[in-house]
């Protein structure tokens, strides 16, 4: 490790620089994401779902893991993005990339509007308001069936080709598309959290009273990161809508908000790869256990959640890091 952890004198920019350097394990990880093309060509649809979920979890990580904003309604932006991408294609604009931009803009605008509310509250009121706004949007989509198809789901989605590639049955295009989008969003997130802005977000998480006292524009920072997270969640939703050509009310449900929270906590909140690792484990496990009734599947999720909170407060990645430092300490 570098100067930052060994306690040698260092300058702030050195610390930031050391943090931004790519590690070998990171290269290995991203190369490994290409393996499904070769090793599991029949599981590419699942791989694409994992990449989308990972992107969604990454967006939640930005606000929850880094800025400490607990949200029980993050599916609102995922759903907005999915519906925006779906609806624009129903009205004849099926080109995916511009549809993605449109969906991101819709989710971003909604996120920006909501961020003014979010920045004002904390604690229980904040949790309740995020929950309430999520439910509100779910009900609105349910009621506005002329636009969204209501409980039947959106009908007549027609997605065009992606730069000449059709979304095939095997999910080859879908996985390539969602993986590239995930990687680009990851680069953005990585850049953000290692910037001075990212550091002040962590400051807000650690002590929301002290940050304004030292002159940080806390409310403005929260608004900014919340909007960015909303854009990212919207993109995740749009990719799902485009790669599967279906949008149902489920994208806005409380269940989805809860699921993504579980995934992030499982992997480790406040760690860049937490959401991605969590998504891989969660989705693969769900796929493997899909034979059992989904109602029962939630028993194990619940048990896992309690176990993670009690035994691994920082998720799987946090546990691994602790293991690694204990092991390193013994052998150093």
């Amino acid at each position: 490790m570098t100067a930052a952890t060994t306690g040698a004198p260092f300058e702030p920019h050195q610390y930031l620089h050391a943090q931004t350097r790519w590690r070998r394990s990171e290269y290995a990880f991203w190369v490994a994401t290409l393996l499904p093309f070769v090793l599991f060509p029949s599981y590419l649809q699942l791989a694409s779902q994992i990449a989308i979920t990972a992107l969604f979890a990454l967006s939640l990580d930005l606000i929850l893991g880094y800025a400490g904003i607990v949200s029980l309604g993050h599916a609102a932006f995922f759903g907005l993005g999915a519906y925006a991408a779906g609806i624009i294609s129903v009205y004849g604009w099926g080109e995916p990339l511009s549809g993605l931009v449109f969906a991101a803009a819709v989710a971003g605008l909604a996120g920006y509007a909501m961020s003014f509310i979010i920045a004002r509250f904390r604690h229980l009121a904040l949790i309740m308001i995020t929950l309430g706004l999520g439910l509100l949007l779910h009900e609105a989509a349910n009621s506005a069936s002329w636009l969204t198809g209501g409980a039947d789901g959106l009908q007549g989605i027609r997605i065009g080709t992606l730069l000449g590639f059709r979304f095939d049955l095997y999910g080859r295009t879908a996985y390539a598309y969602s993986l590239i989008v995930l990687f680009l969003a990851f680069l953005v997130a990585r850049r953000i959290i290692h910037s001075p802005f990212g550091l002040s977000l962590r400051g807000i998480r650690e002590n929301p009273v002290r940050m304004p006292a030292v002159g940080a524009a806390s409310a403005a920072h929260i608004r900014k990161i919340y909007t960015i997270a909303a854009v990212m969640a919207g993109i995740a939703g749009a990719v799902l809508a485009q790669s599967t050509s279906t949008v149902s009310l489920e994208v806005l449900s409380f269940q989805r908000s809860a699921d993504v929270l579980v995934i992030l906590i499982l992997g480790g909140a406040g760690r860049l790869y937490g959401g991605i690792i969590g998504a891989i484990i969660y989705m693969v496990a769900r796929d493997q256990f899909s034979g059992i009734n989904p109602q029962y599947w939630y028993f194990w999720i619940g048990l896992l959640l309690v176990a993670v909170v009690v035994l691994l407060p920082n998720g799987i990645l946090g546990g691994l890091a602790r293991l690694k430092s204990a092991w390193g300490g013994r052998w150093r």
């Binding site: 929850l64 308001i129 906590i265 959640l305």
Partner: protein, 286 residues
């Protein structure tokens, strides 16, 4: 006009159900700052206990109600000692996650044992039918529900105001550290309050079956309602919970009757609006 009053009464009865389900959470949340999202799981437990005793073992309806209360109280007492106690000083997020894990498990367990279908419940004949007074139709069961809820509210207020235990609870709610300093066993008072509140939820769950039905999603569906009541009414205020539950029950019934197209939209809007206006709730002290 009588239709309107009938609606008002139905909403009021529904509100009383919400009051029973939520009043315990309102007190325990303020006392330990512990966000217990599993509160409605105890309500669901009470509901299933009543269904089992009534339908499979043939107990009379009234005999099942105390058992539903005891089941909720006992289950929460055990869980509090084993699990929840660790989280009193944890972050809100950890509290939410651990308790929502319990909700997931309870929902899956209920689905495993009883299936996902609505549970039927056979009420005794004297709770059937309705009485007409001043041209308004009062369903007997709803009258019974209102009577139970009002009685419990009065007992709760009296207990809190005039007993030694009530004084300890009030002290712990107002200032936990000071109460500890004065030698009050806050942990024990909390455990008892927690059990009592969950017992009331169990009773509420048992009484809810005949009005709103019972399926494994009960713990989730009513969790949201209970949270709305608690956050709108303000914490640790029995009067606040009562008023908020009443307001919510009536506006939900009225909303569904007059503008059915909007569904629950109005309720959520009301909740978000009220929370933004007064984050500590209508009657909150904070």
């Amino acid at each position: 006009m009588t239709g309107f009053f009938g609606l008002l009464f139905d909403g009021f009865a529904y509100g009383m159900l919400l009051f029973l389900l939520s009043v315990g959470l309102s007190v325990t949340l303020r006392m330990m700052n512990f966000i217990n999202l599993a509160h409605c799981s105890f309500g669901m437990l009470g509901g299933y206990v009543t269904v089992t005793l009534l339908d499979r073992l043939g107990w009379p309806f009234f005999a099942t109600l105390p058992v539903a209360f005891l089941a909720g109280a006992a289950a929460s007492f055990v869980l509090e000692g084993l699990l929840f106690r660790r989280f009193y000083r944890a972050s809100e997020l950890d509290q939410c996650l651990a308790t929502i894990g319990v909700v997931f498990m309870s929902v899956a367990a209920a689905a495993y044992i009883y299936g996902t279908v609505q549970q039927p419940v056979e009420l005794p004949s004297y709770l059937h039918g309705s009485v007409v007074y001043l041209g308004i139709n009062f369903a007997v069961y709803r009258l019974f529900l209102v009577a139970v809820a009002v009685l419990i509210a009065l007992v709760l207020v009296a207990t809190l105001e005039w007993t030694r235990f009530g004084a300890q609870v009030r002290a712990a709610v107002d200032n936990q550290r000071m109460a500890r300093g004065l030698g009050i066993n806050v942990d024990r008072a909390f455990a008892v309050t927690f059990a009592l509140g969950s017992g009331l939820a169990g009773l509420g769950g048992a009484l809810a079956i005949a009005m709103v039905g019972l399926d494994p999603n009960f713990a989730f569906t009513y969790l949201i309602w209970v949270l709305i009541v608690v956050s709108v009414g303000g914490l640790a205020s029995i009067g606040g919970s009562f008023a908020a539950a009443m307001l919510l029950g009536i506006s939900d019934m009225a909303g569904k009757y007059y503008v059915p197209a909007l569904g629950s939209f109005l309720i959520y809007l009301l909740m978000v609006g009220l929370l933004m206006w007064r984050p500590a709730g209508l009657f909150g002290k904070r």
